[in-house]
């Protein structure tokens, strides 16, 4: 009986790994294990968990009732109300603006993109219809505090994101100037980004202090008596948004600066030769080529604006009263009362809001 040669056997997955010379893919997946473990444990698990908890009753200070499954009751308590009705005139101005947006969409949309415009129109009309729901004269929201926080968050998102771009773009343009003071400009741009937001809130609370603050002192010098900034609703909104814009415009400025520096200088020289003015160069070259950087900054800014917590918390604790309580502050306050189930439902609302905005932006980027 002749000896059969032993057939060559490729070393198995684990043998290869143990030999100390793993294949590229093996090594790669192995190196990804720690990162994935952390993200799964601290990001994925909590998000699944919070959705699960939002469907349950759980108060840590009432363990006797346990944690029964209650379906959508938390959400019903949060977003619904008694005696709700629908009327055309509720929030009339905002809904007219929305309809104006639909009209503007159809006026500007190109022939080829009509199909997408239909989708947006349906979405906008759905929002228009939803905005008509309100409690009648006898009815009331189950949780008016939630709708207040929702409105405050939306206001902060719109004002502070737009504001950070209005301020951030000039910041980037100035930081792009070549001078030997550039390092100082960079420090001035980096400081608002690097400082802890809660300390920025405290700092501006001192600047906006009604008697001994700088803002009111400067106003007094030009003959205006400044308001008690943080104790009145409208001035507090102004002060908090100003602070948020001061902090976040530096981040926007830095991202836009990177965008500016990636633009080919030759384009400007060519345009100058062709006799384009400074304004023309800005609108025709800078702004269009800056679009990717603008998109990235816009996404990150909006997603952080949804979670706004530190600055208004440090400045007014969500006050005066609850006038400036953002969704973030409301989630925190609810967690403090140990009502885990309801806090989870609020978190899910916040998560859905940021998910919707992410999807909106991603669609917008991909269609560009």
């Amino acid at each position: 009986m002749a000896l059969q040669p032993k057939p060559y056997k490729r070393p198995g997955f684990w043998a290869r790994l143990a030999s100390g010379n793993p294949s590229e893919a093996q090594l790669g997946y192995l190196l990804l294990v720690p990162a994935f473990t952390v993200l799964a444990l601290v990001m994925l698990y909590p998000i699944l968990n919070v959705v699960w908890k939002s469907l349950h009753y759980e108060k840590l200070n009432n363990p006797a009732r346990g944690t029964p499954f209650i379906g959508l009751e938390n959400f019903h308590d949060m977003a619904w109300g008694e005696g709700l009705r629908w009327s055309v005139t509720h929030l009339l101005v905002w809904r007219l603006l929305l309809l104006g947006g639909v009209a503007a969409l159809w006026a500007t949309v190109r022939r080829r993109a009509r199909g997408q415009a239909v989708g947006w129109t349906v979405l906008l009309l759905a929002v228009w219809a939803l905005l008509g729901i309100h409690p009648g004269a006898e009815g009331e929201w189950n949780d008016p505090r939630f709708w207040n926080a929702f409105g405050v968050s939306l206001l902060i998102i719109v004002v502070s994101v737009l504001g950070s771009f209005v301020v951030g773009l000039p910041l980037a343009l100035v930081a792009d100037i070549k001078t030997r003071w550039r390092w100082l400009v960079r420090v001035a741009l980096l400081l608002p980004w690097a400082m802890p937001p809660v300390l920025i809130g405290l700092m501006f609370a001192w600047l906006f202090q009604d008697q001994y603050g700088v803002v009111n002192d400067l106003l007094r010098r030009v003959g205006v008596e400044g308001p008690i900034w943080l104790a009145r609703v409208v001035p507090a909104i102004v002060a908090v948004n100003y602070t948020l814009i001061w902090k976040t415009s530096s981040f926007v400025g830095l991202v836009l600066l990177a965008g500016l520096q990636s633009i080919d200088r030759g384009l400007y020289e060519a345009a100058e030769v062709d006799g384009a003015s400074v304004a023309q160069r800005f609108w025709q070259i800078t702004l269009p080529l800056l679009r990717p950087a603008i998109a990235v900054a816009l996404i990150f800014r909006t997603l952080t604006a949804i979670q706004t917590f530190d600055v208004p918390f440090a400045m007014t604790r969500g006050g005066p009263g609850r006038a400036l309580e953002t969704l973030g502050i409301y989630v925190y306050n609810t967690t403090l009362t140990l009502d885990i189930g309801y806090a989870a439902a609020l978190s899910v609302a916040l998560f859905l809001l940021s998910l919707a905005i992410t999807v909106f932006y991603l669609r917008w980027i991909y269609t560009e």
Binding site: G20, N21, E24, A25, L27, G28, Y29, L32, P34, A35, V38, L39, V42, M43, P46, I47, N49, V50, K53, L60, V174, A175, I177, T179, W181, W183, V185, V187, A188, L190, L191, W193, A194, M195, P196, P197, V198, L202, M203, W206, Y212, R220, W246, L254, V255, L257, G259, A293, V296, L303, I306, D310, F313, A314, G328, V331, Y332, T335, L336, A343
Partner: protein
């Protein structure tokens, strides 16, 4: 004219960025009596360092600094280590599906950190592990991590991991592939090539990622406020909010505390400004 306009713009940006901090610095040297004077003074009339002493006597500020330092440094080390592993795998190895994996990791950074508050709080209080309870026939709970360093280190590592991975992935992609190929031809294994060739070259990228993670961890407020509630376990940003009473705002002391709390960050941004900017915009350039 053009020149004048430029300098005016530069001055405006510098004043806008630095004035609040300078004002705070001046405040920190004033006596509390001088703060309650009208009209307010801009330059301190008589300099005092008393506020900086009060910062340490009124609250255990040294302990706050220590807590912040331990949490931020450990979180930075772990986060950069894991991110360097992941970045190397995604940036240099021929890995099937690496674009999808990178997108997945970056997407997790879009989840609101706020959503982690409730589930992590519940987890750190201690939850029962059902299968272990069954094995031992008595309820087994996860350890109560509230008021420990781990309650902050674990989430900080996770929160900064996506951005650190993104920075290091794009950095590793820039290192020429030939450098490593040469080592492989000379008989290095993949693992030893990683430690002998790639690691030394990638020091600048690692420093960039480390600074960003450190600043993120040093500044975090919400989780630190909620998870570590004993005075001895407070971090700097949370600790500074403790100086204000119900109605009293000792602004001179608060200003001094803020100055001490941001000092490490100011040092970082003065010495590493280029690195920080390149790190911050890595996400922006790569999309």
């Amino acid at each position: 004219m053009n020149r004048l306009f430029r300098y005016a713009a530069l001055l405006l940006v510098v004043v806008n960025g630095l004035f609040p901090a300078v004002w705070l610095l001046l405040t920190s040297f004033k006596t509390s009596g001088e703060l309650r004077q009208l009209p307010i003074t801009y330059w301190p009339e008589n300099f005092t360092f008393g506020n900086y002493v009060s910062v340490f006597t009124e609250n255990p500020f040294g302990r706050f600094l220590l807590n912040s330092a331990v949490v931020s440094v450990v979180a930075t080390l772990l986060c950069v280590l894991f991110a360097a592993f992941a970045g190397y795998a995604l940036g240099r190895l021929n890995l099937p599906g690496r674009r999808v994996i990178l997108t997945l990791i970056v997407t997790t950074s879009m989840f609101p950190a706020l959503v982690l508050l409730v589930p992590l709080y519940r987890l750190f209080v201690g939850v029962e592990i059902p299968w272990l309870s069954e094995v031992f026939n008595s309820p087994i709970f996860t350890p109560n991590l509230l008021n420990t360093y781990w309650a902050l280190i674990i989430p900080y590592v996770a929160l900064s991991l996506p951005i650190a991975t993104l920075i290091l992935t794009s950095f590793f992609q820039l290192i020429p592939q030939d450098l490593e190929s040469a080592a492989l031809v000379d008989g290095c294994t993949r693992v030893s090539a990683l430690f002998r060739i790639v690691a030394p070259v990638s020091a600048p990228g690692i420093v960039t990622a480390a600074i960003i993670v450190f600043v993120n961890s040093w500044n975090e407020f919400l989780l630190a406020l909620t998870f570590n509630t004993t005075l001895q376990m407070r971090t700097v940003p949370v600790g500074i909010t403790l100086y204000q009473g119900e109605y009293a705002f000792p602004w001179a002391i608060i200003s001094s505390a803020i100055m001490l709390g941001v000092l490490p960050l100011v040092v970082l941004i003065i010495f590493f400004q280029r690195r920080i900017i390149s790190g911050l915009t890595a996400g922006g350039v790569k999309g």
